[in-house]
Amino acid sequence: MSIHRSHILVCSGSNCTLRASVPVRMALRAAIADQGLDKEFKVIETGCFGLCQEGPIMVIYPEGIHYCGVQPDDIDEIVETHLKKGRVVNRLLYRGEAEQEVTLPSTPFYQRQHRVVLRNVGAVDPENIEESLARDGYQGLAKALDTMSPRDVVQTMLDSGLQGRGGAGFPAGRKWDFTLRASGEPKYVVCNADEGEPGTSKDRLILEGDPHAVIEGMAIAGYAVGASQGFIYIRGEYQLSLQRFRKAVEQAREYGLLGSDILGSGFSFNVEVRSGAGAYVCGEETALLNSLEGRRGEPRYKPPFPANEGLWGKPTLINNVETLANAAPILMHGAQWYRSLGSEDCPGTKVFTLSGDVANRGLIEVPMGITLREIVEDIGGGIPGGRQFKMAQIGGTSGGCIPAEHLDIPIDIPHLDDVGASLGSGALLIVDDSHCMVDLSKTFLHFFAHESCGQCTPCREGTMLMRKLVDGIAAGSGTRKDLELLERITATMRKASLCGLGQTAPTPVLTALRYFSDEYEAHIDSGRCISGACGVAVGGMKS
């Protein structure tokens, strides 16, 4: 193993990739090779640094200097000035600030975060297992195998109070407990990486940035519940995640961290990587199981729950990527440590994808209980373009719309519930006052009408009926009676749909009607829209 005096980390998360990080990396490698510096400088492709809006991002160690928005043209200057002469290229620093005044990690964007799940994302080369090992990768698994019984592991998860990070927020430890206690062989562990919630890309960036954290979490789960086979179901659109994860699994196998008799403990565990094929509903755990079985990804009625009858009818633990990535830190540092993070009702941290009308967009991890205002104003850097905050949609397209009056609510499960929203999978879409709620509702409903699995009546018919009604309102042909019909449909969908998709699909429209009913009424009564997006007359409304 060769030692380099400096490591240059270039983000290769998808967001930076599609902002041209690949040519940047190639130019950097070429320049270093040309100048014969390859023994001194090591270029590492790493996961997402979070600040996707500023990408491509490059970090040079040991100085820890972050450069933002690096383009291939900038490489020569970086090599000449920084690498060879040790001087910082000020103009590429975050927002062009001089180094002395602000380095990226000292900005509120990073200062307000607390990285547990993202501990290694942006810090390691995800394609090199040794980098993970150096940063305590697989130490949680080692500890479990070495010193804990499966029951101990489950108890620690129960004590930690970790709630599922995929959307429903069910206590993770209880799922582990149910699966451990379920009778039936074999048992399976399934990682739900079918992240399809619009506005969410956290799971993708975890998979791309630190796949070993997820593999380790799956192996710990397998040990805890008595499973020796794991499956990870990754969204078909996430080609890079699939590729990285497959590689990581191979490496883990090579290093004996997957396979039989792991670390001489007698515990065996394997992971099979599966690709989805474009169906939002497969994020619903039983739909995912059907899809894994090679069927249409339609949710199953419950009970029975997967813990008792899951994959091929066998006891199955199914957890989200972020949930599993929390397992190793919890085992290493203990349930009490985890509980000390976050809020009383919701321990720990939460990863959010910040998007929409906010200055800093990207991937963040914050303690539960942080207020929406802190996220928007401090981490997000406020609303750009002199606009006003209108609402935040939290939890993705099935999440509620939170208006400005609730900016100070703490972000955790019970507080969001109070305002009709839910934590969901961690999407945070910030919308400024230039947008029309009817137009946005239309977008939400087009999404659900496209993604409903079509199995149960309320969701199959309801999403399309809602879509038709809201399309009509947006087009200026709606009536007050349509609002009543919308209420009837939403009430039935929420109560009578088979799965969470149908039960939550009406949420954004319900909260939009609750907080922005004046906009709906303006469309209906006077054919006006604040944004003009709806194709009716512009203007004329108080919001």
Partner: protein, 581 residues
């Protein structure tokens, strides 16, 4: 394990085993909960959401059909919110369901109609739309009208799981979700066996038989046609269900009376050719046993089964008996033996079959089923279609004067009537083969081991040979439902089947559960129809096919020696290889 749970349903306590569904518990408490996707013989689907109820403590409503009770559970099936949700669900379905109930085949027999009434739908509040999907009448037997599909998936289960055919599947996603064939191809182009079990499963008018009623009325009205009718064994024990009689009523003599009143010139019985089939098939079996023909020999009376083996096991067609089905034998004889005997021009004879079956319509249309350009059978009606005609004619079916079949094609035995039940052909054949081989009288007529609703029934019969020393062991099996047939065929294909003779019936329960029978053909109803069939057998004076005097006369008067050319031409057929995809 089965601890009892005390459940409160709308304030009434009921004690049931834990794990019972709310639906069942409610029934015991005297509370009816409407359902659509639920079918008593099928797996729980919980997709229509019509049966949702309020369970105390649950965040959302739960479907009564799938949700298990626990001790102390408190259920409300009639809260205003539940009533509103149910009604909304049905209104949603109706927002794009064709509003042609008055013209629909299911009018007054439609589950959607019933549910819609029971949940209190009285308007169509939501934006309306029609899907305008094509009506598929390509097969001439089973018609699909997808616009009327409510996505309950009962037909999919019937096709894929009960029959192991699987030409129907849920396709597309979301609002476009509908039950269809691969690439939406017409049924004629896919490997559908036209058994009609999907029709039995369907709660609406989305699946029905091809309607031949008007053709039959036209033939009856044609003064130049001599219209004869044959009734299949299973029709007599089911037709009453559609005409105001209790399930399991033996309505044979009312049936003949009704047919005569409809204007048929000869009212005959497929049972006659069922006896003939036993004679032919019995000799074929003995011939195969003696001369080393392909074994096991498999029955060929069920046209859905024939189409199934042609599509799915085309390389195994040699196992089939070459006998035509009783329906086709009847048609062939009506236009030859009967015509000759009564000096009719075969062209002027019009043969109508009343069948419990939709595949019989396909069978009658097969190119093999004609002699010198004259079709054996001209029109096939299902039991349901006949009931419709009797309604049209205004006959008071239950109170008709009882009448007998005409001679000679109406004379039959108990062995023939059990053709309508699974295992019946086998039992009838054994009664005859035993006596023909052993030259002794059969000690007990009932072969109960091949009776009943197990999917595959096996038996072994020892036939003492006339020399008094040796005996012949005949191993037999009977399967009903094509998924069961597939089990046997996999054994046959892999050379693991040591049977000599196998009976296969396409439909669960045999013909009494046929796709053309009154709906619904639930297990409960099938059991009653089976009982009626066996009662009918016991009530017959002659119960063995080889003792049927009319059949004996037919051989003496008309058919030549065994395997003679006329016999071959009229009573035997061949099969074609078809593709599975």
């Amino acid at each position: 394990m089965t601890d009892n749970a005390v459940v409160t349903i709308n304030g009434t306590e009921v004690t049931v085993p834990e794990g019972t569904t709310i639906l069942t518990a409610a029934e015991l408490a005297g509370v009816q909960i409407p359902t659509l996707c639920n079918h008593p013989d099928q797996m729980i689907k919980a997709v229509c959401r019509v049966c949702v109820v309020e369970v105390e403590g649950a965040r959302v409503f739960q479907p009564a059909c799938s949700f298990p009770v626990w001790d102390g559970m408190n259920v409300r099936t009639n809260s205003p919110a539940v009533i509103e949700a149910r009604k909304t669900v049905v209104e949603m379905l109706l927002s794009r369901h064709p509003q042609d109930c008055l013209q629909c085949e299911r009018n007054l027999h439609c589950e959607l109609q019933n549910v819609s009434k029971s949940v209190g739908v009285n308007e169509r509040p939501f934006p309306e739309e029609t899907r305008d999907l094509p009506i598929d009448d390509s097969s001439g037997a089973v018609v699909r009208e997808a616009d009327k599909c409510i996505n309950c998936r009962r037909c999919v289960e019937a096709c894929a799981d009960v029959q192991g055919v699987g030409v129907l599947s849920t396709v597309n996603r979301g609002y476009d979700t509908v039950v269809s064939t691969a690439f939406n191809e017409p049924l004629e182009q896919v490997s559908c066996v036209l058994c009609g079990q999907c029709i039995q499963a369907c709660p609406t008018g989305a699946l029905r038989e091809h309607n031949d009623i008007d053709r039959v009325w036209r033939a009856l009205a044609d003064p130049n046609k001599h219209v004869v009718v044959q009734t299949a064994p299973a029709v007599r024990v089911a037709i009453g269900e559609d005409l105001g009689l209790p399930v399991g009523t033996r309505a044979t003599k009312l049936l003949t009376s009704a047919l005569r009143q409809l204007g048929f010139d000869g009212v005959f019985d497929t049972d006659f050719t069922a006896d003939l089939t036993i004679m032919e098939e019995g000799s074929e079996l003995l011939q195969r046993l003696q001369e080393g023909g392909t074994l096991p020999m498999i029955t060929s009376c069920s046209p859905g089964w024939i189409k199934y083996i042609e599509h799915y096991y085309p390389e195994q067609l040699d196992h089939l008996s070459t006998c035509k089905s009783p329906q086709q034998m009847f048609g062939a004889l009506a236009k030859s033996y009967y015509a000759e005997k009564n000096q009719y021009n075969p062209d002027d004879i019009y043969v109508v079959s009343i069948m419990p079956c939709t595949a019989k319509k396909f069978e009658a249309n097969r190119p093999e089923m004609a002699a010198e350009g004259i079709r054996d059978v001209d029109a096939v009606l299902t039991t349901r279609e006949l009931a419709q005609m009797i309604d049209q004619a205004g006959l008071d079916f239950p109170n008709l004067k009882e009448e007998e079949y005409d001679s000679p094609l109406g004379i039959s035995t108990g062995a023939a009537v059990i053709f309508g039940a699974t295992g019946g052909v086998m039992e009838a054949a054994l009664r005859t083969v035993y006596e023909l081989v052993t030259e002794q009288e059969l000690p007990a007529l009932d072969f109960t081991s091949v009776r009943g609703l197990d999917g595959v029934k096996e038996a072994s019969v020892l036939l003492p040979l006339p020399n008094g020393e040796d005996s012949l062991e005949v191993k037999v099996a009977a399967a009903h439902g094509l998924a069961s047939a597939r089990q046997i065929m996999e054994k046959v294909k892999n050379g693991e089947a040591d049977y000599h003779f196998v009976e296969v019936m396409s439909c669960p329960g045999g013909c009494i559960g046929g796709g053309g029978q009154p709906r619904p053909s639930t297990t409960e109803r099938r059991e009653k129809r089976l009982q009626a069939i066996y009662d009918e057998d016991e009530a017959m004076t002659i119960r063995k096919s080889h003792e049927n005097p009319a059949v004996k006369a037919l051989y003496e008067e008309y058919l030549e020696k065994p395997l003679g050319e006329r016999r071959h031409k009229l009573l035997h057929t061949h099969y074609v290889q078809r593709s599975r995809y």
